[in-house]
């Protein structure tokens, strides 16, 4: 276990907007082929944490290293799957051209895409089983299919690490499961870090879980302890383990779950 290389290293990272801290003293170490899920309430800084690791937000204090490099250099090795709400869903573009955007990092300004780029994109679309739909307009895809395309676009970068922001927001449980199955398969080769507020989905699929609410509670284990949740959510939470340590139900978060 300990021989695996560290791919992400955060040391006492503080970040915020207009002097108001959103992240306070974050320490995090992610190793090769980890599958880390980070949960936390909305506004708890989950997306900010991703932005800091992608070099899109400068931390006010602390150190961020991605594969031993600064965030803006290290992000070359990161495949980023953003949260879907940020997009214009009527944008006139097809599946293939979206996935091809994953090759921009390889082909800088003034360079055309090469046959190698096209092979990488075809491979990525194959991995998410969407190659048959490569000519489809993005606007005609379902939310789950679109999510697969964004995973493919991230894979086309040939990443060492995948970042996913709420990958299962607004998809039903069947699609949630198929997305996690796909991620588990990908995890054989790439390190995965995802953030979500969907605690039950995360805790049953990832290898380790952390809780984030300004401060990060992460013990490199799969278990979510009542202490972590209590600290992170700052409210009492019912935790039912059913003898299976990775099954977690938080009552005020998962109203539809029968207890």
């Amino acid at each position: 276990m300990s021989t695996r290389r560290e791919v992400i290293h955060l040391e006492d990272v503080w970040a915020g907007y207009d002097g108001r801290p959103v992240l306070e003293g974050i320490n995090l170490s992610v190793k090769e082929r980890d599958f880390v899920g980070i949960i936390g309430p909305n506004g708890g800084g989950k997306t900010t944490l991703l932005m800091v690791m992608l070099g899109l937000i400068q931390p006010t204090r602390g150190r961020v290293r991605v594969l031993g490099q600064s965030a803006t250099q290290g992000r070359h090795f990161i495949g980023y799957v953003p949260q879907q709400v940020d997009f214009d869903r009527d944008f006139p573009v097809n599946v293939w051209d979206v996935a091809l955007m994953g090759r921009l990092g390889q082909r800088g300004l003034l360079h055309r895409y090469t046959p190698e780029d096209r092979r990488a994109v075809a491979r990525a679309l194959q991995q998410v089983e969407m190659l048959d739909m490569k000519d489809w307009p993005i606007s005609e895809l379902s939310v789950g299919q679109r999510q697969r395309i964004y995973v493919a676009r991230a894979l086309a970068t040939e990443p060492k690490i995948l970042f996913l922001d709420e990958p299962t927001a607004s998809v039903d449980s069947r699609i949630t499961n198929s997305i996690y199955e796909l991620l588990q398969k990908l995890n054989e080769h790439v390190t995965i870090l995802l953030i979500s507020h969907d605690m039950s989905a995360i805790s049953s699929h990832v290898k380790t879980v952390g809780c984030l609410n300004r401060r990060l509670f992460y013990h490199e284990s799969r278990e979510i302890t009542p202490e972590m949740l209590g600290e992170a959510y700052r409210c009492p939470i019912d935790l039912i383990a059913h003898g299976v340590p990775h099954r977690v139900f938080a009552q005020h978060h998962e109203e539809e779950v029968e207890v």
């Binding site: 980023y80 955007m101 895409y113």
Partner: protein, 280 residues
């Protein structure tokens, strides 16, 4: 119309319509998909300052307009990217200051400025050959820039955050886009006047967005629509003795409203026939 073609001014006008439609079709697509109609309007109006400057210095006002629209594009681009709040207020202020500068320069210009109104309301019938040459050059510049930066422009327009992560210089690409908008605006000003520039810049692209599934197809259709609108508008204004710029805008506007109507009806149809499929 055939007899009208005997006149030089009519041939020039048709030619101007075609040249303008090319720039407009390409750049209008980016204005529409990036939703930057307001900043484009700001650039158009700020360009008026350059018209005034051109008259004051006694040079072709088009050169003044190019100078001012590019400066406005740079200024507004930097304001939009670097200030987190109140970008729209600052753009509105630059919009007004640009126009005010133009008016003051015209005041300072000795003698009566004859065709000032033509820049406000357009005068496609008085486009001289020299302006046609400028338009053709601007078309070539715009086509070349879009061809060179196509993949970056697409990525920035579609998903700016992802493009940034992939190390696309999105700020620079955005400024390039605004500068191209500035150049297009200057061309359009001659045809429909700066007050109606935004309409011709956005309507062909907005119509084609409903019927196409890629930026390239959307650009081609926008160019075709632009040519149809300017030619039809020109012919109607000639036949009915109306102001050409306004007639072109009304033709485009009518087509735009019809396309919205068509879309609403088509959607309703699709929903009715799909009703069963999505019921689960």
């Amino acid at each position: 119309m055939i007899t009208a073609l005997q006149f030089d001014f009519m041939r020039h006008a048709l030619m101007a319509g075609v040249l303008v439609s090319i720039a407009c079709g390409i750049i209008g697509v980016y204005v529409v998909v990036n939703r930057i109609v307001f900043v484009s309007g700001g650039i158009a109006h700020a360009a008026y300052g350059g018209i005034g400057l051109g008259y004051f210095l006694g040079i072709n006002p088009v050169w003044g307009a190019i100078l001012f629209s590019l400066s406005a594009a740079l200024g507004m681009g930097v304001v939009q990217r670097k200030t987190r709040q109140r970008a729209d207020t600052i753009i509105g202020v630059m919009w007004a200051i640009g126009m005010a500068i133009g008016i003051v320069f015209v005041d300072l210009t000795r003698g009566y400025v004859v065709d000032l109104m033509s820049y406000l309301f357009g005068s496609i019938l008085t486009v001289p050959r020299s302006d046609l040459v400028i338009m053709a050059i601007l078309d070539v510049v715009i086509i070349a820039l879009v061809a060179v930066f196509y993949k970056e422009l697409l990525a920035m327009s579609y998903d700016e955050t992802f493009a940034t992560v992939e190390n696309v210089p999105v700020d620079a690409i955005y400024i390039v886009l605004l500068c191209m908008i500035g150049l297009t605006v200057v061309m359009l000003m001659r045809v429909v006047g700066l007050i109606m520039v935004i309409a011709l810049l956005t309507m062909p692209a907005a119509i084609s967005e409903q019927f196409t599934s890629s930026l390239k197809k959307m650009m081609v259709l926008s160019i075709v629509l632009g040519i149809v609108f300017t030619t039809t508008g020109l012919w109607l204004s000639y036949a009915l003795n109306l102001t050409s710029g306004a007639t072109i805008i009304l033709v485009s506007g009518t087509a735009f409203l019809l396309s919205l109507l068509y879309k609403a009806v088509a959607k309703r149809h699709a929903r009715m026939s799909d009703a069963g499929r999505y019921s689960n």
